[in-house]
Subunit: 313 residues, 2 copies
């Protein structure tokens, strides 16, 4: 703990990939004097106690938020409204209440009405993750060089927003502020639609009559396996994302379908020129992502390749 | 060169990612006494000479195949027919002629009629690659633990098929034999459709009115960046794949579209149960791929995460 703590007590409600990564990063960077957490299942609470990453594991949300300066809901979007209602009476005056949900309009609509006037509500979304879930899946480096988007509702006191910014920056994140509605549009294309498409194609491959599942799995290195990673993400979390960002997702899906029809028509008509032009254009986007450090420049995401064993004579 | 060479002279026509990886692997494993190559552009030929990976770089395809025991066309599918016609008169009796194309039905249709009866034609497709192209992009480990599919036309002599199997196995690949038509169906779902979908969504994201390209790039870690990798693959190669495996791709696309409509309807109707059920099922496929070693078990494909720098006091 080399730094001056930003908060005295941080309370994490939920300890999956994101909650667990925050706990590890906060401890590694000394961003809080005390980290307390709770989780819905006894099994998770027992595992977190075993891991020894937090100061105290509590049984209820009410106990967890007690006297906390920062409360972060690290639970699926659909659970945030009810939990906000549940914890409201126990929140300390002046506390910052935040979340990590992938949808922000619905979070504001569902949580804000329950929260007392004496706390500061600053919704947040760290755009980071892996396909793994559960208390063991988190790691302190998850947020490094990733963006965390804050969407304070209009009229939010600027001081707690800056404090939360410093907190996320302390975990290595870059912080951006935008409106909840714009966040939901941006994430619909950069995250929600990609997940929907990946979930679809993986399902399609699983149900074919002409090609067996075992063939799909065997020959997946031709591209398919890339999609299976995000289609292995937490089902509860993603169900809630689609139910809570419906309009923006359906809008992006409409545009995607038009574009897919265009490329399909080019294939049907043997229009090689149109295909070539499109495939050349999309290459540039990858370069942009690699250039600003949002993906690895290593071929194949840096996947490991074992060495070739020399053949015996 | 610890092993007994399988071939005296191997000729590679084309020196991109695949040709270059074969050359490096053949040399590392001592699978041939001599490797010769050619490439269409003078620039590539000069670069290959500089790299010093092969024994001789020749100016023409005719010179390259001269006296070769194995000739591999490592060029886009659309170029294979004309090149087969061009090299036919110069092929040695008893030579094996092969390729590395991602489509096999069209390769057989386009190449076989040109090849003389005194050579053995054994089409091949190593299901391996990265998003990089060009003479510098190859590496000897590319084929390790990846499948190489051989699709010998009916009536092919079994001996050269076994020789080619040993050659690919020597580079670390697992080898499977199937018909060209079945190959094209399998690859349509495990490779071609995923590429088409990735190319589409990356194009969609690039053209939106409500979200800027720079926002798409910044917040791509939410899932989108995974798609940009395969949408950065070689445009010429992929144009040829779609033009030459049109029927199978359009068929898989039809099934995909039906499935996408089903999920869209579930979102529209707030059918959380249907979404949850689908998202749970797709998780299992990922596990299967990781279990048989066709992808890394490391979270996020094993993408590197830099360490968190300790904050100064």
């Amino acid at each position: 703990m080399s730094a001056v703590p930003i908060f005295r007590r941080v309370a994490l409600i939920g300890f999956g990939l994101i909650g667990g990564s925050i706990a590890r990063a906060v401890r590694a960077q000394g961003l809080a004097s005390e980290i307390v957490t709770t989780a819905r299942s006894e099994k998770t609470r027992a595992r977190v106690t075993e891991l020894g990453i937090v100061d105290r594991v509590l049984e209820t949300n009410a106990e967890a938020v007690n006297d906390a300066d920062l409360v972060i809901l690290c639970i699926p979007v659909g659970a945030c409204g009810p939990v906000a209602q549940e914890i409201a009476p126990f929140l300390k005056a002046g506390a910052i209440v935040s979340d990590v949900g992938s949808v922000k309009g619905a979070i504001v609509r569902e949580m804000a009405p329950h929260l007392p006037g004496h706390v500061h509500f600053v919704p947040a979304h760290p755009v980071a993750g892996t396909e793994h879930s559960g208390p063991d899946s988190g790691f302190a480096e998850l947020f490094i060089n990733r963006w965390c988007i804050l969407t304070p509702p209009e009229g939010t006191d600027p001081m707690p927003v800056e404090t939360l910014r410093a907190f996320w920056a302390g975990m290595g994140a870059k912080v951006e502020i935008m409106t909840p509605d714009h966040h939901d549009l941006v994430l619909a294309i950069t995250s929600h639609l990609p997940h929907l498409i990946a979930y679809t194609i993986v399902g399609t491959a699983d149900e074919l009559a002409q090609v067996t599942s075992s063939e799909v799995i065997k020959f997946s290195a031709g591209g398919f396996r890339d999609f299976t990673r995000i289609a292995a993400s937490d089902p509860t979390m993603w169900r809630d994302v689609f139910l809570n960002n419906k309009e923006a997702v359906l809008e992006m899906l409409g545009t995607f379908n038009e574009d897919l029809s265009k490329l399909t028509r080019a294939i049907r008509r043997n229009d090689g020129e149109a295909l070539f032009e499109h495939f050349t254009r999309t290459r540039a986007i990858r370069r942009g992502i690699v250039e600003i450090g949002q993906d690895s420049a290593a071929p194949d995401f840096g996947r490991p390749h074992p060495p070739l064993e020399k053949k015996a004579e």
